[in-house]
Amino acid sequence: MLLMESIRKVYRTELVATHALEDLSLHVRAGEFVAVMGPSGSGKTTFLNVAGLLDTFDAGSYRLDGEDVSRLGDDEMSSIRNRKIGFVFQSFNLIPDLDVFDNVDVPLRYRGLPGPERKRRIESALELVGLLSRARHLPSQLSGGQQQRVAIARVLAGDPRLILADEPTGNLDSMMTREIMDLLEEINERGTTIVMVTHSAECAARAQRQIHLLDGKVVDLDAPPTLLRADVPAEAAR
């Protein structure tokens, strides 16, 4: 599903160049639930931005769902984000002026789906996260956990192949954290690949695999580094 090889990302200012990702290689298979961990400044967010085609990188190659996405234009990257990737953010990132229904509608609008199809998908996703009755509420009228469930419904409505979650439980209490993790597990069990950045060991433990980043590189503490490359199937590596 996600195959990165020797990715390098450098942030440059006039005075200093910061190597956010350095020779990062990673393979996540379709249907996997992977937790990415690491201390602050280890490159987790940059990795997620590059993986989500929200940011470009300076060197290396990246294949997403079998498609080389290393050097795409803005329109193509936007289209892939819209069709194949769903984002769950720590601070939910709902649009405050839009009600729940319209928030879930946003990615579907950019996909150009017809009205009845969008409505069906939105209602189905909201039902799945248990918030159909709150469809006309504004985000400010919901609790944090409910807002994150709306964000997950927004992802579900788009039916992506890959979900990138950036500290999805970072702003939630323990009960809501469990709810959200249960939901993510449920989604993963249906075949959606999830890559979740987290600081929480408890959350990371619920993933099938944990990957540790340090100084922009993958350092797998639980497995020998060679395993990362050994994971790459021969046809994908080509």
């Binding site: 984000r81 984002f87 601070s91």
Partner: protein, 439 residues
């Protein structure tokens, strides 16, 4: 997607009503001022008789003082002497022609309806009505036979017909004007050209006269002009006949020449006429004849004062300043929305989609501002017309017509684009990743 973008724009405008009032108000002010001055200029500068103005020509001959030219900027008298008019009427080159001037005559209503009133009367030939396409409610103008025989026939304006005959069809009825009874040949419908283009020698925005009688009655009724009269030479003989034989210029002359060839022939005719007159000692200045198309005549006489054009230009510059001011406000507003834009980009919005979303918002501001601006300009025009009513007795001096409405809408959209393109471009270039953490 346009409907969706429009919904987002309206939500955004509702979010911060103070800022929205500021942006919409700025554009409304700019559009209001620009539309107001454009409308005033348009009223004065537009073709008063489209489709016909190219064939209508104003005739001038330079019979002025040999020592110095006529004091007007063109250096040629704007009107003709009676002698010359009488001679020119003999030409059969023009398809139609009319000498014309205005006079003050008494009109006698039925004693039960009112007292005699001094009324502005226009003397003209029968061709006047066809040449200037006057609209008729009842009847029509008189015919050329009435011109030739100096018949006492009259065409009444709508208001005078209301006064004399209660608005009824008065064709065939009699009205006393000065010393004789006139048979009504026709009644004009409402005729209010924004410029009194057939006679701009005095007030070019005056309303048309309400009574029209044959020019050929000038002599039998001894009608003198109540308009301008220029002369450089003393009248040789006294009295009315002396005036007719003098070098006083007081009659306007219009001819209808269908094409350039007819115009050339007519100019040749005038040249030959003046050359012959020179042999008798008249026309002492260098030979000069002018046959000027209507629109060129209006321009030459500066019916649209240069100050009005200058004010229109200034008002458009003011609109540009308003648009630039709006640009600054929108830029600040859009940049403050960067986190939301980051979310939309993450969810699949392309730069183009973000750009269009914000252009639609700018245009929404511009359209609402434009609508308010049109309202402001209409209010101002009502004020101007109110002033004109008291000053020159016409309340329809400046009309806000469809072309001005289109102009206002176009100006609004252009102002919206000018104001919005840069902020929309800036905001669509925001890297999506930067603000996602900041939400």
């Amino acid at each position: 997607m346009l409907g969706y973008n429009l919904r987002i724009a309206l939500k955004s405008l509702r979010r911060n009503l103070g800022l929205t009032a500021l942006t919409v108000g700025g554009i409304a002010l700019g559009i209001g001022v620009a539309t107001l001055f454009s409308t005033i200029r348009h009223a004065l500068a537009k073709d008063p008789i489209p489709g016909k103005s190219a064939v209508l020509h104003y005739v001038r001959l330079d019979n002025w003082d040999p020592a110095k030219p006529h004091p007007n900027p063109a250096g040629i008298p704007p009107q003709l002497t009676y002698m010359d008019v009488a001679a020119l009427l003999r030409s059969d080159i023009p398809v139609r022609q009319t000498p014309t001037f205005k006079a003050n005559l008494y009109v006698f209503p039925d004693p039960s309806k009112g007292r005699p009133q001094r009324t502005l009367v226009r003397l003209c030939a029968s061709d006047f009505f066809t040449m200037f396409e006057t609209p008729f409610r009842y009847g029509a103008g008189w015919d050329r036979r009435a011109d030739a025989q100096a018949e006492a026939v009259v065409v009444l304006g709508e208001e005078t017909n209301d006064l004399l005959f209660g608005g009824a069809d008065s064709v065939g009825r009699t009205v006393r004007i000065a010393d004789r009874d006139f048979r009504v040949a026709g009644v004009l419908d409402r005729w209010r050209p924004s410029v009194k283009f057939y006679d701009i020698t005095q007030n070019p925005v005056d309303v048309p006269e309400q009574v029209f009688i044959p020019f050929s009655l000038l002599r039998p009724m001894q009608v003198r002009s109540s308009g301008n009269r220029d002369g450089w030479k003393s009248q040789a003989a006294p009295g009315f006949e002396g005036l007719l034989a003098s070098e006083s210029t007081w009659i306007q002359m219009w001819v209808e020449l269908p094409d350039a060839q007819a115009r050339r022939r007519y100019v040749d005719y005038l040249t030959a006429y003046v050359s012959e007159e020179k042999k008798t000692g008249r026309f002492p200045r260098p030979l000069r004849v002018e046959v000027t198309p209507l629109m060129a005549w209006l321009r030459e006489q500066k019916v649209t004062p240069p100050e009005i054009t200058a004010m229109m230009v200034v008002s458009l510059l003011f609109l540009a300043v308003c648009a630039l001011n709006l640009m600054g406000l929108l830029l600040a507003k859009f940049l403050a929305r960067a986190p939301e834009i980051g979310v939309r980009r993450a969810l699949g919005a392309s730069r183009k989609a973000i750009f269009l979303q914000h252009v639609v918002e700018c245009e929404t501001v511009a359209v609402i501002g434009g609508a308010l601006g049109i309202g402001l300009s209409v209010l101002a025009l009502l004020g101007i017309n109110g002033w004109a009513k008291t000053m020159i007795n016409r309340s329809d001096l400046v009309q806000f017509d469809l072309s001005m409405a289109f102009l206002a809408v176009a100006l609004s959209l252009v102002a919206g684009l000018v104001a919005g393109l840069y902020p929309a471009w800036r905001v669509c270039r925001i890297p999506p990743a930067v603000h996602l953490k900041l939400q």
